[in-house]
């Protein structure tokens, strides 16, 4: 039973001494195996007793992987959101084979062509834009930009932010002071403002956008991780690791990092949706990947001049964008419920 509920944890508290010794034992007999696997699945925010209790219990628990997928499968939201994203990613990757047309093919015969369900013409499923390009094809190709930026920016900013947060939290003192003041300064500037200024100055390109997005959100991770590390640093299992001669690097990566994974994965999954929306806003302002490459934000902007005659040009890409972010949020919420029921809203 890996699903440790509150009452069980608190029931264990009086007997904490026993659990402690169980952990100590695990620490000495098998310092890298069972003990670490056990600790890694405990909720990092929980207090010392909680961690110890979960660690103690988990020694007899079934392998974590199985239970994770088991629980994941039962979360309808997570599965639904995940499937949507999977299909979208496959469409984006194989856009050359699955898209009905060419995203940059201009055909003025189909200029502002209404979508298929209006029954006027059946060639373009979601209609044509102001240059007679197929909106469906462009939406599929546009997914490449949104998903690439969303994933890479979260990955890069996550790595940088987590590293800085680990350093700040573990070493404290001057390191902490410098990193966290930097985060404070950046937090004082609205992220969209910073992104607009940076892209405006660096010039819009896929590479620059990924850099700018990563720069815009690293401090969320740094602050989260730092907070978690501060409470973990004082706990007994870290002290134990230090006593048996673990180096700082080893303690940070083998003992602390596994304990902060869960909230980080949840945070990262939420940030993907945020980055996709931010990218679309920049694209809308003309600061995204430059045309003719289709991006959802610029497609929405394309329709601005035709709101009265052809509103589908603006609404269709927006609908896809919204559904994607919704799927990301569903997936993130589901993941949170599975990994970390305590955070459930």
């Amino acid at each position: 039973m890996s699903d440790v509920s509150e009452p069980r944890t608190s029931a264990l508290e009086p007997a904490a001494g026993q659990v402690d010794s169980a952990v100590d034992q695990a620490c000495y007999t098998d310092p890298e195996g069972a003990y670490e696997a056990a600790v890694s699945r405990s909720v990092a925010q929980a207090g010392e007793r909680h961690v110890v209790a979960v660690a103690g219990l988990d020694l007899k628990a079934p392998p974590p992987r199985q239970t994770f997928f088991e629980r994941f499968r039962h979360s309808r939201r997570a599965v639904g959101g995940g499937l949507f994203l999977l299909v979208l990613a496959l469409l984006a990757i194989f856009a050359g084979y699955v898209a009905p047309g060419d995203p940059e093919l201009v055909d003025f015969n189909y200029r502002l062509q209404t979508p298929i369900w209006t029954g006027i013409d059946l060639k373009y499923v979601l209609g044509g834009d102001q240059l007679g390009r197929d909106i469906l094809t462009r939406v599929i190709y546009g997914a490449r930009i949104s998903l690439t930026i969303g994933l890479l920016a979260v990955l890069i900013s996550g790595t940088v932010g987590v590293l800085l947060g680990l350093l700040a939290g573990y070493y404290g003192g001057k390191t902490d002071e410098v990193i966290m003041r930097l985060a404070d300064v950046q937090l004082a500037i609205p992220y969209i403002l910073l992104a607009i200024a940076l892209v405006g100055i660096m010039g819009p390109s896929l590479r620059n956008l990924i850099i700018v997005m990563s720069v815009s959100i690293w401090m969320t991770y740094a602050r989260t991780v730092r907070g978690l590390v501060l409470s973990l640093r004082e706990q007994q299992f870290i002290e134990a690791a230090r006593t048996v001669g673990g180096s700082d690097l080893r303690i940070i990566f083998r003992h602390i990092l596994p304990n902060v994974w869960t909230p980080l994965i949840v945070l990262a999954s939420q940030q993907v949706g945020f980055v996709i929306i931010l990218e679309s806003a920049l694209s809308y302002l003309g600061l995204g990947v430059p045309p003719p490459t289709p991006t959802w934000g610029s497609m929405i902007a394309d329709g601005r001049g035709y709101l009265s005659t052809a509103w589908h040009v603006t609404t269709m890409p927006g609908l896809v964008l919204m559904s994607t972010v919704l799927a990301v949020n569903f997936f993130g919420d589901g993941l949170r419920d599975v990994l970390d029921p305590k955070l459930r809203m």
């Binding site: 500037i189 200024a197 940076l198 329709g303 927006g318 919204m322």
Partner: protein, 314 residues
């Protein structure tokens, strides 16, 4: 409390100084030259050098920065390269308009979020709760500028109730003014309401589970009184944090929304300033945004102390 506020104001000045240095170096060190932009294809080296000298752009960077700070301390934000107007005049004209959008958006979001969040928490798991939760998730997943365009399609293009773009000062025509700012405010408010509702709902649910609420209920107090007098104040702390963060981001979000409605506020000013490399204007707008953001954070922290008397700042 006074000492706390004084200390915070001091940190605020320090933060503003660091931000100004960062913004200054960011703008000047990254590629893009305002004189190049100004001259376009007409490349006249003599004239370009003259202009460069006129704006002090031929000076070493640290000196340029010190000049800028010195002018700032004397109450001058410099001249805009492109508009040839004092930057402070431009900001004095534009900032209140953006502030109006932010405050209007804030009010609308509170008007939506409070009833919705309370209703959802009170009728937990009912159809109303499910509907409200779903709506706020949709709101969280929607880009503001797209919602703005949808509103334009419905209320301006189809129904002809509201003008799609533009701005009329309130002292010229109050009715028209209201009609021009309704859609931008509703857009900002709706997006913001989504996260506030979620936060209020979840923190209320958390509070309603606690023992003192059970005690209040068993004393025979009316549900309404338990909710409003006992539970709500405690649920407000996390909610206010979210509102504070949002108000700051709202100022940022207004940049994009202003573009949709061609609303002549700080956002449009900044976007144009960036595309034209108008250094003094970019520096000043970002600094003003950052300062308002810091002030909002300070006000949020002070608001905690008023709502929860247990919070004391020393």
């Amino acid at each position: 409390m006074q000492r706390y506020i004084a200390r915070r104001l001091l940190t605020m000045l320090l933060l503003a100084l660091i931000i100004s240095i960062l913004v200054f170096s960011m703008i000047h060190l990254l590629p893009g030259d305002p004189i190049d932009v100004m001259f376009g294809d007409v490349r006249d080296p003599v004239a370009m050098a003259t202009i460069r000298n006129l704006y002090g752009l031929d000076q070493p960077l640290p000196l340029q920065y010190l000049t800028w700070v010195n002018n700032l301390l004397h109450g001058s934000l410099g001249l805009s390269f492109r508009l040839h107007l004092p930057v402070s005049d431009l900001i004095m004209e534009r900032f209140p308009r953006t502030l109006m959008l932010a405050v209007g958006g804030m009010l609308i979001s509170l008007l939506i979020a409070f009833p919705a969040g309370i209703l959802a928490a009170r009728r937990y798991n009912s159809w109303a709760d499910v509907a409200i939760s779903a709506a706020s998730l949709v709101g969280l997943s929607m880009p503001g500028f797209w919602l703005a365009l949808l509103l334009v399609i419905v209320f301006a293009v189809r129904l002809h109730w509201l003008p799609p773009t533009g701005y009329v000062p309130p002292w010229e025509n109050a009715g028209e003014w209201l009609r021009t700012i309704v859609m931008p405010c509703v857009t900002l408010g709706a997006i913001m309401a989504a996260s506030t509702t979620r936060m209020l709902r979840s923190s209320l649910l958390e509070v309603l589970k606690q023992e003192y609420v059970t005690v209040a209920n068993s004393k025979g107090l009316a549900d309404r009184r338990v909710l409003l007098r006992h539970a709500l104040p405690n649920a407000l702390i996390p909610t206010i944090t979210v509102i504070g963060i949002q108000l700051g981001q709202l100022l940022g979000g207004a940049i994009v929304i202003e573009r949709v409605f061609a609303y002549p506020g700080m956002g449009l000013l900044l976007i144009n300033a960036i595309s034209e490399r108008d250094y003094p204007l970019i520096q000043a707008t970002i600094l003003v945004f950052a300062l308002s953001f810091i002030i909002v954070n300070l006000l949020t922290d002070i608001a905690y102390a008023f709502i929860d008397p247990r919070i004391r700042y020393e």
